[in-house]
Subunit: 501 residues, 2 copies
């Protein structure tokens, strides 16, 4: 046996369980509920799912696939195209799978990412026949060490009847120690989660399981799919500047200090760009308590701005992968990966008082946010962790460019076509046009701020026209709407490819 | 001085601060932000607000009024009609005030009830010039003992510049000891809330304040306005039966035991009736962890079914008031009133694994819930604590009769006209027609359960017709809708007083 492999499998009896990906994939029965490791394309099971795709060429079967969040795009893509997925949850972001979801070929359960573990405990998700988990090592005392994400792996491993491990030796074993695995007990019999600071470790360095459940170990050298976020542009830089100025005004008002509060930043280019804006700022000793660490977080660590970053995954561009994984020792004492139940837990989010920054698809004039559905009917990606953070953060910010499709679409609309975050949960809206601070305001007080500060100039008159007529039509009610017209901007878009009248 | 009053004001120097309600009301300046005690008509400030109403007859002024939740209907009614309210939050349920809110005369900030305390800490609500708090006593060591609700009184008292107390001597001082006042520290510097069982006391018996802030004490004998809930009828009894049967099936599935999990039950007749259904059931050793204790809870304590009930207020019918307050010793070790920040805290709600039962105004075929807005524009009452519980409970149930206005309105609609609880937060829907268990289901899987089990027979065909055409129109997308028609049922209602085609 390869000495690296021997070293990475610290429990000798497990070394006999090494099989090929094909052999492992063959274990999974038709109809099974399967839990896969992986969160925002990081630390995902790769070679066993791809072997399932191969198997599907010879044999018809369907499985339900639950993950942490999105898998690498290739894995979700080929799993989708192979037609083996009956149901998928709780998040995905791949195009081919999205198309099949929106054709009704795959059932998709879009859920708050902190909720999955409770649903597994209750057996609502399950019984899980197999968990397939990427690890970089099994320690001598039998702890499974995840790679670049923790996600739902601990709860899958605990509740699955059987476990398949993908031992990924492309990762350095210096990853050992960056994870912090704490799994709450059953509801009603559980202690408080003892985190009072983002930098606190409260659990073990790996996942403790009944080793007899490990039915196969597959050796893998597949790297994580790199993230494809685009660098900040003029508009996302402007959004970052607006937000930093807002934080400055909060400091002046005595509501924040120069260290702010732990920051959660959503996945994707816009959120990454906003975070990147801190690099040249005066803010310091920042902490991150988020679900996914993107390039910007490591840039901020390098710049001495962020002194600790906690999350459940690390998702990097190819360039940043080299920088970070090539020097993981440099970052090891400044980062921590937790189960997504903990990274996204309302208890911790509210206790620490997070500043939460997530992307919106569209926002309405009263502050309701759509994060998931294009024109109310087609799933884009999913709500992810945004709801876990938005309702419980100290300051809940949604960011979006004010327009899309070259100006044909306004991201500020009379009524959002799907609600993921209600008016009760949204504090601040930022677009490249400006910022609207909605805290403490009644719905009609929010309208001028959202239209005047955030909407694209091309749509301001049209928004005011709708609102003024709605006020008239409802006798100035709590939330004026003309129900016949409330979704007419989306109807126009579907028919004429524009929201412009 | 009356010996009762002397006894109830345990700190001698405070006895000099007794003034008339008029004198106290005169202290509150025009433009002030005022925090009033009161939650679901219980323990509300009464005589000082009514003196403000009198003052308004001679003098023009406006104030912003924040409370725990609803005040007694008379107080909110006369305050509204006097025209002294500029802004009102976070909840109210009185008709005259509702009308003024829906005419734009009063700004209304409808908010999650657990959120207020954080907003006060941050100064988003505030600065609070005066807190007016009903108490039944001030102890010798200066603790303010609330009466029948705690609500936001502790945070108002902590942050208000000045405090006016309404010492209500109509309450027995045997109320001393039923409150448990625990106020979390600032976010980021706070410890876990140490509650791991609904019956646990973690704080002091009263509110600790800087006594110098107490500018006036007004003696009151005004009782709480009794609640007007209607007794269970055939339909609400049927809903209770359906829910109990559902719990039985959960026990069979191994997800619950005969003691269930701590129950939260919303305010109003339907929720009360559902809870009342436990009386003749086999369930026992039940606990309640709720925001408001209504008649049914005390009936269940009497029946030996509930062994502990925690909340932030007690709201009873006139008959039950006599029973409970006449024998408060009997209940004192079985109940506990906490600040609403704690009764509704996501941290505790998820830790204890609550079963949460709240009323919906309408539900759509995908499981989104409207709790607040009639036909999307007019405020009914408010979201109250339903969002605090719905997102974090172990089991989130919404109850509604399947129809309203004698059958003209269907409570099950294609698309709700306002979203307070998203599809991600709703587990179970109960109407008098049946029950839909939506857990773990994709949107299109939920549709047949909601239509077939919950909709009124008069509307089933119309719902199926909409859905089938929406599937066709969207190519069977994740959430099929025909945007032109999605709100047409409400438009029909506004125009023709019916949702029937």
């Amino acid at each position: 046996m390869d000495s690296i492999i021997e070293k990475r499998i610290g429990v000798p009896k497990l070394r006999d369980r090494i099989v090929s990906a094909e052999e492992a994939a063959a274990l999974i029965p038709d109809g099974a509920v399967v839990g896969l490791s992986g969160f925002t394309r990081a630390g995902d099971a790769k070679v066993v799912p791809m072997a399932l795709v191969e198997r599907a060429k010879k044999e018809k079967f369907k499985i339900d696939v639950y993950t942490g969040a999105s898998l690498g795009p290739e894995v979700d893509h080929y799993l989708a195209e192979a037609g083996v997925i009956r149901k998928r949850g709780p998040y995905q972001g791949e195009k081919a799978m999205r198309n099949l979801i929106n054709k009704g070929d795959i059932l998709y359960v879009d859920a708050h990412l902190s909720h999955n573990a409770e649903l597994v405990r209750q057996g609502i998700i399950g019984p899980i026949k197999y968990a397939v988990i990427e690890v970089c090592a099994i320690t001598e005392d039998g702890l499974l060490i995840p790679t670049t994400s923790v996600g739902n792996s601990p709860i899958f491993a605990q509740y699955a009847e059987n476990i398949i491990l993908e031992l990924n030796i492309s990762h350095s074993d210096t990853l050992i120690g960056i994870h912090d695995i704490y799994v709450p007990g059953p509801q009603g019999k559980r202690e408080p989660i003892p985190i009072t600071n983002a930098n606190q470790r409260i659990g073990e360095i790996g996942i403790r399981v009944d080793l007899d459940k490990i039915k196969a170990i597959v050796i893998s050298e597949e790297p994580d799919a790199p993230s494809l976020i685009v660098p900040p542009d003029e508009e996302t830089r402007r959004m970052a500047d607006l937000l930093l100025d807002f934080f400055r005004s909060e400091i002046k008002a005595g509501r924040l200090t120069n260290e702010l509060m732990p920051i959660q930043s959503g996945v994707g280019s816009v959120a990454n760009a906003v975070l990147d804006g801190f690099k040249e700022s005066e803010f310091e000793n920042l902490q991150v308590y988020s679900e996914c660490l993107q390039d910007a977080v490591f840039n901020l660590i390098d710049a001495g701005k962020v002194n600790f970053a906690s999350a459940t995954s690390i998702t990097l561009t190819a360039e940043a992968q080299q920088k970070v994984y090539g020097n993981i020792e440099k970052y090891a004492d400044k980062i921590c990966l937790r189960p997504q139940e903990i990274s996204n837990h309302p208890e911790v989010v509210r206790r620490l008082g997070l500043i939460s920054i997530n992307a919106a698809l569209e926002v309405d004039i009263y502050g309701n946010v759509n994060s998931t559905h294009v024109a109310g009917t087609k799933m884009m990606n999913g709500i992810g962790g945004s709801g876990d953070f938005a309702r419980n953060a100290r300051l809940t910010v949604f960011v979006t460019k004010s327009y899309a499709k070259g100006g044909a679409i306004s991201s500020i609309v009379p009524m959002v076509s799907h609600v993921d975050h209600t008016e009760h949960d949204v504090d601040v809206i930022v677009t490249e046009q400006g910022i609207a601070d909605l805290r403490g305001l009644a719905p009609k007080e929010r309208v001028p701020l959202i239209i005047e500060n955030c909407a694209h100039p091309d749509f301001k008159d049209q928004l005011w026209d709708y609102y003024n007529r709605a006020v008239e039509a409802t006798g100035n009610s709590q939330t004026p709407h003309i129900l016949e017209e409330a979704l007419s901007w989306h109807v126009n878009l579907l028919k004429n490819n524009t929201m412009k009248k």
